[in-house]
Amino acid sequence: MSTQTPQPSQAAPDTTRIHNIGYRSYDGPRLGRSYARRSLFSQSLRGAYGLGRSAKSKVLPMLLFGVMCVPALIIVAVAVVTKQTKLSIEYTQYAIFLQVVIGIFLASQAPQSVSRDLRFRTVPLYFSRPIERADYVLAKFGAMASALFLLTSVPLLILWIGSLLAKMDFGTQTQMFGQGLLSVALLSLLFGGIGLVMAALTPRRGFGVAAVIGALTISYGAVSTLQGIAYGTDNLGAISWLGLFSPITLIDGVQTAFLGAPSSFPGGEGPGAGTGAVYLLVVLALVAGSYGILMRRYRKVGL
């Protein structure tokens, strides 16, 4: 085969010529699959808050982050000034009260994270590199859940620090703070999974946003309406079972049963430990299911 080899293959001393061809090869380390997965994770997590993206895309996530924190700051300020002995909101209730903000954050950022790669067909570029399908899905899932956890746990941290400034009981506050963190961690995983599945099934970003909002609000609206009817008709047993059918009531049920939270269900009729176990199982199954669906989704995308 007649080829021009890039290296001068033979050279006498007096005829040696060094061509400055300008191309530098790379001899440094290649950090491989786990590094690539971590890079994708941090890129996606930063992207969820608009970091490394245009100034315009920072506005919404940062605004929502602010909206999440402001009530906590107000509560803390009031507690410190008026020297309350107890915060006016439970740690575990905070995310439930601000679920709309979390929903908007998820609806805007989940499509950003996965729909763009699908829509602009960037996914094949990932899979032509050392990472595999599971790495991609894990990195995206992890990043979305971490972004949500950041969004929901920072206000709790503010509340906890505030409670200590107001000289409330350290032990009780810390225990409740821990329970709150567990609850929002579960919430982040569940919401992250649902949001990504919705977004991954709709390559168009607008549809993704609508699908996520729809999945969260319609299910919550339906469940709370039915629960209201059940409460009105004195059908108290049905209330806790109905709670299984929307993400936010699922979290509410789990924390009522296991994390000492007061229930937001009508009449405060939260599930007990037995029903609560079903809640927890459903949450875990949904998280695992989301992962499974994402894995399936990306099997076809390959190249």
Partner: protein, 394 residues
């Protein structure tokens, strides 16, 4: 060579610092011949660029050409309803290799298998000496891939995008940034690389796609239809760039196309597949560079109302082999004279004859035989295939 010894380093006349190394023979691209070096041979290695030089006259580097980059052995891929590849055996060495076939001939399936993303139904394939079934991740670390379709998000800049892709290939953050700047410069993107890619022309997008395939300094790049959607000038530039990927960067290339014509200038070797089977695999120089066809066009003058006919007669008298046929179907074909150029003297002869006749020479250019003719031996050599665009050789 103008070098001065400075401790363990050599300072070249261009100011570049050349380090001498006997060890560090870890770069696999050069490994094959460096391993055989006697210890007293000093390899010069620049910190500026990758050119290497030798300090002794006896450096007979064994070639890197007998290394196989891609090897397949009765590789088959069957889907429930179609057979994409049918017992394909190939042996592709370093250099630029063209993979030609009509749409659906199995080119993309082949690339998927080579990247270890799709298991073959039977047979085996090796890329850079690694089995695609067991070493997919290692292969993908050292191979670049440029897809046929659009794959660039419009709202990020080329720099950000390529840096991210470099990190996805395992390059540490600083190296990723350096390599990105270098690679984008090499593919010809300068200030515009900081702008969002949504505003790029097709040519610029193709360059970014090529850059992301090259950014991790692979040993092989797989380019799927890189000239798709480009205008003739962009096409030429892309083909030139692909040629440089091998000649200047030392990266082997497998480029697919459904146009035979455009590969003849770029590739050292062309593999033609059709319906998943191998039609032919051969070196381009074997069949396109043996004889040259010259196309000559002249003006008419008062003394010679039909300049072409006059020139034809004069050249025939001077003993030049003229092709009887003209390029049918092309505009102005009747005015173009095709003749066989035996060597340099034919050019001079044509010039002199045209001058003697007092005609104006409109053009005189080389026309290579088309690969298409070679693959269709029954086609008459006098007739250019009108379906393929004319490609004047440079």
């Amino acid at each position: 060579m103008n070098v001065t010894m400075l401790g363990g380093c050599v300072k070249g006349s261009d100011g570049a610092l050349w380090k001498s190394r006997r060890r560090d023979l870890d770069r696999p691209r050069e490994k094959d011949f460096r391993r055989e070096l006697p210890y007293w041979l000093v390899l010069l290695w620049s910190d500026k660029d990758r050119a290497v030089g030798w300090t002794t006259a006896v450096a007979h580097a064994t070639t890197v050409e007998d290394v196989t980059v891609i090897a397949t052995e009765s590789l088959s891929k069957r889907f429930p309803r179609v057979t994409a590849l049918d017992r394909l055996s190939l042996d592709i060495g370093p250099g630029v290799t063209g993979l030609v076939g009509a749409n659906g001939a199995g080119k993309s399936t082949m690339i998927k298998i080579l990247l270890g993303l799709s298991p073959a139904t039977e047979g085996r394939a090796e890329v850079l000496g690694m089995d695609v079934r067991t070493s997919g991740a290692q292969i993908r670390e050292r191979v670049g891939y440029m897809p046929e379709h659009d794959c660039l998000p419009p709202d990020v800049s080329a720099t950000e995008f390529v840096v991210h892709m470099a990190r996805m290939s395992g390059l540490p953050a600083t190296a990723a940034r350096e390599r990105t700047a270098d690679t984008l410069r090499h593919v010809g993107l300068y200030e515009e690389r900081y702008r969002p890619m949504g505003g790029y022309s097709t040519g610029m997008k193709q360059r970014v796609k090529l850059a992301q395939a090259l950014v991790h300094d692979p040993k092989l790049v797989l380019l799927d239809e890189p000239t798709n959607g480009l205008d003739p000038v962009g096409r030429d530039e892309m083909l030139g760039l692909i040629r440089r990927v091998w000649t200047d960067f030392g990266i082997s290339v497998l480029v697919t196309s459904h146009l035979l014509g455009e590969l003849e200038r770029t590739c050292d070797h062309v593999v033609v597949i059709d319906g998943g089977t191998l039609l032919r695999s051969s070196s381009t120089s074997d069949f396109t560079r043996t004889t040259t066809t010259l196309a000559v066009e002249v003006t008419d003058s008062d003394t010679h109302p039909d300049g072409t006919a006059a020139l034809r007669a004069a050249l025939a008298g001077a003993g030049v082999t003229l092709h009887a046929g003209v390029e049918d179907g092309l505009p102005g074909a009747g005015h173009i004279l095709l003749l066989e150029a035996a060597g340099e003297e034919t050019y001079d002869l044509v010039r002199d004859v045209v001058a003697d006749l007092g005609l104006g020479l409109v053009r005189m250019e080389q026309r290579r035989h088309h690969i298409a003719e070679v693959f269709r031996p029954e086609a008459s050599p006098q007739h250019e295939d009108p379906q393929h665009e004319e490609v004047p050789a440079r």
